[in-house]
């Protein structure tokens, strides 16, 4: 059938990506020496000992910042290929890019106005 022909290669790729980490992890699991101490059991945070509980609530502000960061992220993703091929794309693409930037700018304006950028 058609599916087997076209997507068989992709299927093999999936199988390989599944087998590869398993073959790497299982021998390591079987061969590793086990000498657990309390020092080894604590969570690793850049080599510094953890202070207090690890289950804490994070400020919602972090997520808002992450979302706004995403706006600029997407902007870069689309701006870069457009800038590289600018000569071939022409005026139409220029107008479209300004439309795109306008929509992104509106989003940022919205976030700013609603107070997502102020750290309370």
């Amino acid at each position: 059938m058609k599916i087997m022909g076209d997507f068989g290669g992709l299927g093999i790729f999936f199988v390989v990506t599944l087998i590869f980490p398993i073959t790497a992890l299982i021998p390591a699991f079987l061969l590793q020496p086990r000498h657990p101490t309390k020092q080894k059991g604590i969570p690793y945070e850049c080599g510094v000992d953890t202070i207090g509980k690890t289950y804490v609530q994070y400020r919602i502000g972090y997520f808002l910042y992450a979302l706004i960061f995403l706006v600029f992220d997407i902007e870069t993703v689309f701006l870069y290929p457009w800038a590289v091929r600018f000569g071939a794309l022409g005026l139409f693409a220029l107008l479209e890019m300004f439309l795109f930037l306008g929509i992104l700018g509106l989003g940022l304006w919205y976030a700013w106005k609603k107070g997502a950028l102020s750290w309370k």
């Binding site: 059938m1 058609k2 599916i3 997507f7 929509i103 509106l106 919205y110």
Partner: protein, 480 residues
Amino acid sequence: MMNFWAVSTEILILALMVAALAMDLILPKEGTRRGIAYVVISGLLATLVYTFGLYHTGPSMTFFGGLFIADNYALFFKQLFIVGMLFSVLFSMDYVEKYIESPGEFYTILMSALLGMCVMASANDLLTLFIGLELMTISFYVLVGQRMDDKDSGEASVKYLIVGAGSTAVMLYGISLVYGASGSLDFVVICRSLQMFFSIGLAGVVLVMIGFFFKLSVIPFHMWAPDVYQGAPTPITALLAMGSKAAGIAVFMRVLYTAFPLLGAYWLPVLAVFAAICMVGGNIMAIRQTDVKRMLAYSSIAQAGYMMCGIVSADIAGMKAVMFYAMLYVFANVGAFAVLTCVETMRGGTTHRHMTGLAQSAPILAAVMTISLLSMAGIPPTAGFSGKIYIFTAAVERGYLWLAFVGFVMSMISVYYYLLVAKAMYRDLTPEEEAENTAVKIPFAVRATVLLSVIATIGTGIYPELLASLTNLASQTFMR
């Protein structure tokens, strides 16, 4: 260069959405947001007038390599969505001011839901369909939870999100199987592919249909509908019942007729049985409801059943009947929900108890409610009668006599629970109730909405040719 005229309606709606968002930012923080509603209403009115100019004969405009088609069929449904949205915004201005915390965002997301519906109506391949569907439903997840003061609203939103995500997954899996079997997402290519007759293609068709059944709240995939309808803000319930459902019907019909017509022998009997289950179950479960919103949720399940009767006939007559019925269902819904919204704003609820004595305190609202409900039940001379005649005639002509019979019997049963509401409004009051029955002040916008909806309902009932000729025009460019 791509033909941007094909998407001009969508561009107008998108501009309206941006305008609503920008106005929300420009207007003073503590001031009223009524201005946005006026801008949205006038913008939608202009768009509606504009769309009449897009009706055409001959080949339809397409966009993006035929993935998006602007034929008369799509145009008709777009007008239906715009009319529904226009009136919902019109009658809910006071409600929004009272209950919705951030009206600017509310109107913006309303426009994005409308945009999603329009994309759905124009979808000419499964991916465009999916994008439109998701744009609409994700907007509705947010809109359903807009009542910050009401726990039920949040609960409804989460329920809708979870069931919606599940049904989306089912549909997406179906789409992937259909793609696997036919090698394309384009409806016309899918139709031509012989591979669709193999089990994998059929499995895909089944899953796509189940996805649609979830969105149309067809029994037994309806369990989310009553809670969501009851918990959502009343204008949003109205839009779920008319806009979201009509969008689902529009695209469902297009998929079945253009992508899977050769598989009709498989899906026609299935659809007929589900239509019957819907009509019986929806009407019987509606009988015991005392909250009018919840009753209308079950009634909308039954209405989806009636519309599926039209789809089952699988010809031009059936398609026209479904379009006719969807449009008059919008008229009836606008009337009923305008009254409900007004009552909820004044009295704080939508149960039979809140409706009591409406005939004395606001006779016009009581009359409109009764006429709208009778139209849903299909009593002459309202539009519902002619709509049901068209649908059942189309079904009988294709040999589904039993289905039409079930429909007739269940319509008679539905009169009972629709008239229970009328009874609550018109019955004699005890002296204590009389004292409590304060006068209801009806804003001008609501008065205009209910009058227009009644004129449309009665007018279409007495003179159906006008709407029928529009559906005629709409179906002309459909079958190629």
